[in-house]
Symmetry: C2
Subunit: 462 residues, 2 copies
């Protein structure tokens, strides 16, 4: 530990290091530099005081007691893959890293649950469940690197939410260390349970502002039977592609993956790899079905998209399927090769997906920003990527203006500011517009009640 | 309005009546007598002050402002079908009936949602959704009489939770009048959304102790395709029947209905109607499958139950299916013909369903109480019905002792006090045993923050 690089106020970091059971404290410049920010690439003002690597709930308890005593702001941190600035740490903050709490404490096939520590990598749990014939369905884009703790803090979504729900729908209970160091367990080991308030739901998605999640009981599901089936449908325009999910829903078709990729993004991917798609349309819809009726459902979707003038491929061949789905997987990487990016995340009511895509095109033209959009189409959760020059020292004003337009229009269409990335610091300025004054005050009331000193991830969300 | 029958303190009820926009105030003895209690049949001490029939959110706002000004406790009330005493009103309370707020404000097929007022009967929404090709899946036993507001307040479950989830899983957003009369909207019109804390989840299941739900945006689903298929399996003993759901889960079979009926209950139903079951076993498992693969899944379940020594019927014939499922539907009525009843509701981890059934048999013997048990078997949510003599003026001590034993054992097995009926007044005394001191204190902190005067349904839950 190098106290010499310690920046911030005069809190006795050495005292904290003595109190930890298995954890470690670091004040090294490189550690702090890496842990100041996340994948939103926003820069916090100031510099963190130190970083704690917790190895146990006891470490987190000691850290929170110390932080409360010395009024040090605490920023809980997983893998740092967040996209909204929720893990930014500046101004004398303590970075509380949970990434070394990596135990899967239990995995029960009969109770269909796993008890995990927050540092477990999302894909590692998915693999462990798969090996036991089960499924952990939540599949964020960063699953190979993100931690479950981070997924819980942001209520992460991903590719399979339309069928299997977001992180919240897979959480049975939590272990949480409160701002004053008390440890509470919430929820149940059972799927159902209504004893008391839904504290589990309150902590999930609260972005570290109400407490530190040190454990979670997660619901696992039966692995879908049989081979999967994939549909790729090229639509003449984005509006037609946006209508298809509504028709699928009317027909009772429920894909486990349903992604829309717009023309700008398709161009970017095409510059990166050859595309062998069923047609040359402006918008691509990719779907995957799992379960016993996967092939039948995919065939029905194919017919339905055909009636909407799409050129369609339906396949159960694994290699062809992988090739088709890779178009979506490479979308962000392909866009990133074109410049610096700001990846957005908001949701509109399903019926307004087409309208929103049209609005995004107008916004791009109005502010002279290239925008490539992909969407979790079943839930109308859009991810427009705003591109700008790598040489720009900061995010340019026209990019912020375009983002601002998008958020306001999404809200006007009945949507919400964020579907899965969170508010963090990135969207704080718009939150009151969505919630209204009274609901914002209720947030503040709850925050003050659970964190009266205001040390839990201050400046985030509210 | 008859002020002469007004009982309680000296709050000016006439002033309240003047402030209501469309609502009505009643102090009639018969109205109050009917609204003092619910289907838990517990008797509150004292007598309510008056009853308000709200017709609009504005009425609820005026009522809460008046109640806050005069420190009058408010008991929100739907149809009064609750089974835990959450709607008991005594001691000068104001009964706030939402049952006249019955509008379905919107039903959108493309956005797959309904915006409802709290007085809508559950089955009425299910029917309205069905007519538009959609499904509202939450199906509590009292669906033909219960209101959605009551379902939301208790986070009601029912028969289809194993596949489709409890009420919470179908709520996108709420309109809530707070204890001070402010109106907040929570949640979204979209399925996904992580802007701010999950206030929706916090109010759902809070049993009227945090605010009054005056509106809800509910998620609708696609109606399951094709004919349903039913399985009836008679097992030689309850333990074997309890193992079957675990095997079903391992095989990836997900029925939309999966009920276990024990020997005592089967005897009661048999005394009431002839039973034409596939065998004479001690325990019956009834299942229904919906969706494109219903027939195939039912056949696979039939085979699987056969390997567990069950005598099995599998059918897609609607009449035969109705006849089989009626065994479960008539279970409680049949038990009620045998005496006065206390219907219990708790959950154990799936793997402990058999153990809990064994424990219930021991408890029945130990306390000399006849207990008939049905269970939502997929979620291991048990409903033991404790029987006692109609002549008893109160619930006898041995019945309470048996209930106490059941709760303690359910908790010891890793379960929870209530799966869908709620805590109300019935289970308050056990809540701290389940939550622990610190989590109970967090409940109290949140309650005090949102209801500092303590007028929202006091004496319930906490």
């Amino acid at each position: 530990m190098n106290e010499g690089t310690c920046v911030g106020d005069k809190a006795p970091v050495a005292e904290l290091a003595d109190r930890l059971v298995d954890g470690e404290v670091s004040t090294e410049h490189d550690v702090l530099a890496a842990q100041r920010t996340d994948e939103a690439y926003l820069t916090p003002s100031g510099w963190p005081l130190c970083s704690v690597y917790a190895r146990s709930t006891a470490d987190v308890v000691e850290t929170m007691r110390w932080a409360a005593r010395h009024r040090v702001p605490v920023v809980p941190r997983g893998a740092g893959t967040g996209l909204a600035g929720g893990a930014l740490a500046g101004d004398g903050a303590l970075v509380l890293s949970l990434e070394r709490m990596t135990a899967v404490r239990e995995l029960s096939v009969d109770d269909r649950l796993a008890v995990v520590e927050p540092g477990v990598i999302t894909a590692d749990l998915a693999r462990a469940a798969d090996e036991r014939g089960l499924m952990y369905p939540v599949d964020p884009g960063s699953a190979s690197r993100s931690t479950l703790g981070g997924n819980l803090a942001t209520n992460a979504g991903g590719f399979r939410c339309f069928k299997y729900g977001v992180t919240r729908e897979s959480v049975l209970g939590l272990e949480v260390v409160l701002a004053d160091g008390r440890v509470v367990t919430t929820g149940h080991r059972t799927t159902k349970g209504v004893s008391g308030y839904d504290l589990t739901g309150l902590f999930v998605g609260s972005e570290g502002t109400l407490g530190v999640i040190t454990g979670a009981t997660l619901r696992l599901r039966s692995k879908a039977a049989g081979p999967r089936a994939t549909v790729a449908a090229c639509f003449p325009d984005a509006a037609a592609a946006a209508r298809a999910p509504l028709q699928l829903a009317r027909a009772g078709l429920l894909p486990s993956f349903l992604e829309l990729i717009d023309e700008v993004t398709l161009r970017a991917v095409r510059a990166y790899q050859p595309l062998d798609l069923p047609g040359d349309g402006e918008a691509l819809l990719l779907a995957e079905f799992d379960g016993a009726d996967a092939g039948g459902a995919a065939a029905r979707m194919g017919q339905l998209c055909g009636t909407l003038d799409a050129a369609v491929t339906v396949t159960t061949d694994e290699e062809e399927s992988e090739r088709l789905l890779s178009v979506r997987r490479h979308a962000l990487g392909a866009l990133e090769r074109m410049g610096r990016t700001m990846v957005e995340d908001f949701v509109v009511p399903r019926s307004r997906l087409g309208d929103m895509l049209t609005e995004i095109r107008r916004i791009a033209a109005r502010h002279d920003v290239l925008i490539g959009t992909v969407a979790h189409a079943g839930d109308a959760n859009l991810h427009p990527t705003l591109l700008f020059d790598r040489g720009e020292p900061e995010i340019p004003a026209r990019v912020w203006a375009a983002a601002d337009d998008m958020f306001r229009i999404a809200l006007r269409l009945g949507g919400t500011l964020t579907g899965e990335h969170g508010i963090g610091t990135l969207k704080r300025r718009w939150l009151r517009d969505e919630l209204g004054d009274d609901a914002t005050d209720v947030h503040r009331t709850i925050k003050n009640a659970l964190d009266p000193l205001g040390i839990m991830n201050p400046g985030k969300v509210l």
